[in-house]
């Protein structure tokens, strides 16, 4: 496998240092503040987070200036808005959570920025625009907006644009509703930049960004009789270059690649990816831990990565019968599956992401640990997002989980891991080595150490 040029300066392992942390420090975490999605835009200048309270916070990277060279690339709040509100479906007596499940940016085509954000049922297109000028010198009204007396208007003047303090406005431009009976788990913008897909447990719909009153159903796995249901859709994504190709993953650990050119309803897959089960590791929980929680294409479009409970797998799109690489995220949990099933942790949905050159992948774990895997060198690291290691430009120390009897200094035993501190959402800057890690209600930003 040819490795695209690494960013870490050849064979040197990337060292991470703390850049910033966003969010409250209190021990008491408000449920609404829990971050539920993190996403960089196409240039990496903007970083969006969504939370359980339905809010979206967008951070913007500060431009480097000669006067503040040490503040290289800090992210500061650019815009905050309430994307979704809690709703009550009176027909079914159900509350619809306002939690933002996913945010996806659209590529920038003019001065404004656009993103899609979704909760369980409704997708919204938001426009984020800047206003730094104001028109002054109207004929019919005063500066404070009051209408002028007509007889006082003695001359005509052309209003002029005067600078004002920067104001960032977010406005909802489209609302795509009423197309999903089940809970939306994924949205994905197509490479044609005109359409996108949304996936729930049993169906995938195709939308045109301009049209809100109609969507096309492209995958439907709902059986005629619900009692026969054995599999649900867990994630879906469009191919980064081929606008007719998308994949979706299932709760049985399989991935289907579909081509929209072959049929209007893509229930028949073009490719079916599944790794045969290893009989020696079979347990009662085998199916549950094989459920795929995230699927992401590589930037090159040649590979895709899937995350299940214990591992991350990289698949070559040309090989359906097994992944080309498998990385163990926290294999030490395999002997704890019953306890993790009992406390529902086994159902946690971890996401995964690629770096810009597809040479390294990252995913989260428990105890606020997250893992990076360098594909070429097979080097992996376990790092922690914690307040203790949050001093400016402090280098992150690798962590180690002790799996056998004797615990070495600085190691942590499996039993002392905090399973309430889970890192489910991570994002990697599209071009540089800057990563965003969501730890419950805090967002940590780390940057590659530069000598």
């Amino acid at each position: 496998v040819a490795r695209a040029g690494g960013d870490g300066g050849g064979n040197n392992e990337v060292q991470w240092c703390f850049l910033q942390v966003k969010g409250a420090i209190d021990e008491d975490v408000a449920e609404a503040d829990i971050i539920s999605t993190v996403e960089f835009n196409y240039t990496g200048d903007l970083l969006a987070t969504g939370d359980k309270g339905g809010r979206v916070v967008i951070f913007q990277r500060e431009q480097e200036t000669k006067s503040r060279p040490l503040c290289r690339g800090e992210y500061n709040v650019y815009s905050t808005f309430q994307s979704h509100e809690p709703e009550f479906d009176y027909l079914k007596s159900l509350e619809i959570e306002e939690k933002i499940n996913k945010i996806r940016w659209l590529p920038q085509q003019n001065a404004a920025h656009f993103l899609l954000s979704t909760n369980d049922k409704t997708i919204k297109l938001w426009k984020i625009s800047e206003r730094d000028k104001r028109a002054e010198g109207y004929n019919l009204k005063d500066e404070d907006g009051r209408l002028r007396e007509p007889f006082r208007v003695t001359e005509l003047r052309v209003p002029t644009l005067k600078p004002m303090d920067l104001m960032v406005e977010a406005s909802p431009r489209r609302t795509f509703a009423n197309a999903h009976t089940y809970h939306i788990n994924s949205i994905s913008v197509n490479s044609d930049y005109a359409t996108y897909l949304s996936a729930d447990d049993l169906r995938i719909n195709l939308w045109h960004l301009e049209v809100t009153n109609r969507s096309f159903n492209i995958v439907d796995i709902k059986p005629a009789n619900m009692e026969e249901l054995t599999e649900v859709i867990t994630a879906a994504e469009f191919h980064p270059h081929h606008c007719n190709v998308f994949v979706y993953s299932s709760s049985k650990g399989t991935i289907r690649l579909c081509d929209m050119r072959s049929a209007a309803l893509c229930d028949q897959h073009s490719k079916f990816f599944e790794e045969p089960e290893d009989p020696s590791s079979r347990s009662f929980f085998s199916e549950i831990i094989s459920s795929i929680s995230d699927v992401k294409f590589s930037h090159s479009g040649r590979y895709m990565m899937t995350r299940d409970y214990l591992s991350v797998k990289v698949w070559d799109l040309n090989m359906e019968n097994k992944p080309v690489e498998t990385y163990q995220v926290h294999e030490y949990l395999r002997s704890k599956l019953c306890s993790l099933y009992e406390n529902d942790c086994i159902f946690d949905k971890f996401e995964c992401c690629w770096n810009g050159s597809d040479s390294t992948i990252m995913t989260g774990s428990y105890n606020n640990f997250f893992r990076t895997f360098e594909r070429g060198s097979r080097r992996d690291a376990t790092l922690e997002a914690s307040r203790e290691s949050s001093k400016p430009r402090a280098v992150l120390k690798p962590r180690k989980v002790c799996t056998s009897g004797k615990r070495k200094k600085d190691e942590i035993t499996v039993d002392s891991l905090d399973f309430n501190k889970k890192i489910l959402h991570t994002a990697w800057h599209p071009m540089e080595n800057i990563i965003a890690v969501a730890a419950t209600n805090n967002l940590y930003l780390f940057q590659e150490k530069v000598n």
Binding site: Y90, L91, K92, S93, L94, E95, N178, A179, H180, T181, Y182, H183, D201, L202, R203, N205, R214, S215, F216, N217, D220, I221, K222, P223, A224, N225, M226, E227, E228, L229, T230, E231, V232, T234, S251, A263, A264, L265, D267, F284, F285, E287, I288, S291, S335, K336, L337, C338, S339, Y341, E342, N343, F347
Partner: protein, 283 residues
């Protein structure tokens, strides 16, 4: 809704469960059937809990249902290999059943089915009483539990069916590989059983109403008019009118009588659970 006493019992149960699951993880000496039973109990408990939620999580329910089916299949294969044909039947007497059954299904079966099952049960109860109490979750009960959960999930009405360019003519389930679901034989029995049980379920309604005893909610309301032949407009409060019109009226009279049983069964379930826990922990 649960009395304080019951809540306390439930948290004790949860503690016991946590202890048992770590025992499962750490102990190598726990015999396989016991491990399997423990997992099965956890699965059914979770499904039971989900039934009480307004909107159960479809993903989790399917995963748990599949685990139950897998265990069920394994147990069926084992029992089919045994010389004595054991029908792991529904215990005729309340005291010896596990309480793992779906709470929506009342104990009183139509006499024909019950007698057949109890016959086999008597055969088994002569053997090891502890094992007997562990393995008495019947196939039918598990299948019914799964079916009932998944049917409940379908209560989410498809108010916006997908707009297709191509009409989906085939009614086949989209995933042909239902390998775990070899319920062919069971289906025959199940169909019979479910026809009876079907009328006990308030299908297509909001779940929070489903497991509540109708009698308890409407205690103050004079329900005599609904028992009469004369009327009746469907019971509208607190359900929205659109739901009520979809509900065939005939389900109500039967619900009134059995729903009281449902609550009783819930409570019996929990105390039986307790009983089982004591046995497991004691042994």
């Amino acid at each position: 809704m649960l009395g304080r006493g019951l809540k306390r019992k439930l948290s004790d149960y949860e503690e016991n469960m946590a202890g048992l699951s770590s025992a499962f993880d750490s102990s190598r000496s726990l015999p396989y059937p016991l491990k399997r039973q423990l997992v099965l109990n956890m699965c059914l408990t979770k499904l039971q809990t989900y039934k009480m939620l307004v909107e159960p999580n479809l993903h989790r329910s399917v995963l748990i249902a599949n685990t139950v089916r897998q265990i069920q299949e394994e147990m069926r294969q084992e029992s089919s290999q045994q010389p004595v044909s054991i029908c792991p039947g529904i215990a005729p007497a309340a005291h010896s059943y596990t309480g793992m059954e779906s709470p929506g299904i009342p104990l009183q079966l139509p006499s024909g089915v019950g007698q057949q099952e109890s016959h086999c049960c008597d055969l088994r109860s002569a053997e090891d009483p502890i094992e007997n109490s562990l393995l008495i979750v019947s196939d039918d009960d598990m299948s019914s539990a799964i079916s009932s959960i998944l049917k409940d999930l379908d209560f989410v009405e498809d108010i916006s069916p997908p707009t297709c360019l191509v009409p989906t003519g085939d009614d086949q389930p989209k995933f042909p590989e239902n390998t775990g679901l070899k319920l062919e034989d069971d289906r025959q029995d199940l169909k019979g059983a479910e026809c009876v049980f079907g009328s006990f379920e308030i299908s297509n309604s909001t779940s929070y109403l489903k497991d509540l005893a109708i009698d308890d909610i409407f205690e103050d309301i004079d329900t005599s008019m609904y028992d009469s032949d004369f009327c009746c407009p469907p019971l509208t409060p607190p359900r929205s009118p659109s739901l009520a019109t979809e509900e065939p009226l005939k389900t109500f009279p039967s619900c009134n009588s059995s729903s009281a049983n449902n609550i009783q069964i819930c409570r019996t379930d929990l105390s039986e659970l307790d009983h089982i826990m004591e046995i497991l922990v004691g042994s």
